[in-house]
């Protein structure tokens, strides 16, 4: 049996808030195979960031299991978890706050070595860190600088170098370019593409920007109210969205390409933002909603292009 870089089985996460329990994640399951990449897309509150944090072990799950390279990660002890943490790296949204401001750039990158390779001496660690920094395209003059001296794009490269220094097979990317300018974003995305191809990496890519999905990943999951509502190969899902929410998302994206400007439809001015408690969470916003939608929670299914809807489009 071959093991995959990441397997997530029915993970759930709940919070206690003022007005009751918030189900941030409900029964999320998916698998990323070696060399393949997956995106999770959705808007704020859909649970994608919670999913990233739970998978990375930064928050405990309330149910379900996370497996890295076939081994149980979420249920493991801290010591066992530490060993498994070598198998993945993580890149966050805000590069400046993801680095210790009082440590130099190379020291930040060498942290994983210090934690996992305690036998390695300090100068070897520095050499490896500098090698990785060159690999991500950072000039030598920046190695001894402090994070406050570098720009956003440069900092994100540093965070990437730190994520890759232990040669993991999986990198979790939580909105890695949202805080960057458009022209810098393109540079960082190109770098991510190149590293994925040369190092054979798998990405778990969390984003709200659907246009980036196909740049970095093969498959996509669309999340709404803590559940996956549609999943499948990115090209297929975007060309033929079957869930009304996916359709609405795609329609809302402004496209600057001449010829693709959409005339603004007269949109419902007062949209319902909250999630429904029973049945399908999307039914309060859905133009296709029928009585059955309030009784049954539609399951996702296992098809290649799966959709959690009782009356999918097409």
């Amino acid at each position: 049996m071959t093991t995959t870089p990441l397997k997530v089985q029915n993970i759930s996460k709940r919070y206690q808030a003022q007005h009751g329990t918030v189900h941030a994640l409900r029964d999320l399951s998916f698998e990323i195979h070696a060399g393949r990449s997956m995106s999770i897309v959705g808007e704020s509150g859909c649970g994608k960031t919670t999913a990233a944090y739970c998978i990375a072990g930064l928050q405990p799950v309330d149910g379900g299991t996370v497996y890295f390279a076939g081994e149980n990660f979420s249920g493991a002890s801290r010591g066992q978890q530490k060993r498994l943490r070598r198998d993945f790296g993580i890149v966050f949204q805000n590069p400046l706050s993801a680095l210790n401001p009082r440590m130099r750039i190379w020291q930040n990158v060498a942290e994983p070595l210090r934690v996992h390779e305690s036998a390695m001496n300090s100068s070897t660690q520095q050499l490896q860190a500098e090698f990785m920094l060159e690999r991500v395209g950072l000039g030598r003059q920046h190695f001894r600088a402090f994070p406050s001296e570098l720009s956003g794009g440069q900092l994100q490269r540093v965070v990437l170098a730190r994520a890759l220094i232990l040669n993991p097979k999986l990198v979790i990317l939580d909105e890695p370019t949202s805080a960057l300018d458009v022209s810098i974003q393109a540079q960082v995305l190109n770098l991510l593409q190149e590293l994925r191809d040369t190092l054979g990496l798998s990405y778990l890519f969390i984003t709200h920007n659907l246009a980036l999905v196909e740049v970095l990943t093969d498959e996509v999951m669309v999340m709404y109210a803590g559940r996956v509502v549609e999943a499948g190969p990115a090209e297929v899902v975007f060309a033929n969205p079957r869930h009304p929410y996916t359709h609405e998302l795609i329609q809302s994206i402004p496209d600057p390409t001449p010829g693709k400007w959409k005339m603004l439809r007269s949109i419902d001015v007062n949209p319902v933002q909250q999630f429904a408690d029973s049945g399908c969470a999307f039914r309060l916003r859905c133009v296709n909603a029928r009585p059955a939608c309030s009784e049954v929670m539609p399951p996702l299914g296992n098809q290649a292009h799966a959709v959690a809807c009782l009356h999918p489009l097409l």
Partner: protein, 290 residues
Amino acid sequence: MPSSTTSHLVPWLARYIAWSRRNIFAAACATGFGLIVLMALLAPFLGLADPTQIDFSSKLLRPSSTHWFGTDGLGRDIFSGVVYGARVSLLVAIGVVTIAASIGIPIGLVAGYAGGWIDTTLMRISDVFLAFPPLLLPITLAALLGPGLLNAMCAVAISWFPWYARIVRSTVLTVRSDLYVQSARAIGTNPSSIALRHVLPNSLSPVVVQASLDFGFAILTTASLSFIGMGAVPPTVEWGLMVASSRSVFLEYWWTAMFPGLAIFLTVFFANVVVDGVRDSLDPKLGRQP
């Protein structure tokens, strides 16, 4: 960590100097403070009279060319006493602040990082010390510990550590959720390593400000303790003690209280102005007009 301190120190010094050039009053105070420090450092080499030398034949002499600040009731040269007293006062200030910070910082770090019942317990213990009026606790502790400058310093430090604990704790609470701490957790760094390597160094800047503010107050409080007999004892040369010993005679012989009192006042005043400058020059937003 040392490397980051020095590399932050040099540009800061340049900014401080640039700031001083624009603000003459503050620059003058900084110079005054610098002179006091210099005076304290060089005291033994200045060829001054022994400040503890008792000489009844020259008691209560007015300020003159032989005794610049006059002499006190026991014939001791007051100028020399003020200069040597500076050593004691500055050492006391550094000592008190160091001891208070050394107790407060670890408590604040552990309370803020661990949270839960550890946090509650530590903070409630600190609250006990905070509940006392400012001078009452040091006086009580000094009375318990007995006379002596070291005991006075400890008494003051023990009553001040909660401030440091609180400051560090509240910064730690913020830093704890910063992304680089989450990254360290994601990498697998163990919690004590995270606390010491990542959280602590980034929680210290407010402590620096508090410490520099406390510098002047430490001098004042210890002098006050000495004044009421709870602090320094002879033959230690200390400004508060000098004012105390002049109590019975200063109405007629004004110089016996005036000069040590002025020394206390000026040192604390200069120290506070210098601290304001430290804070202002650390703030990049106070840019100047083009």
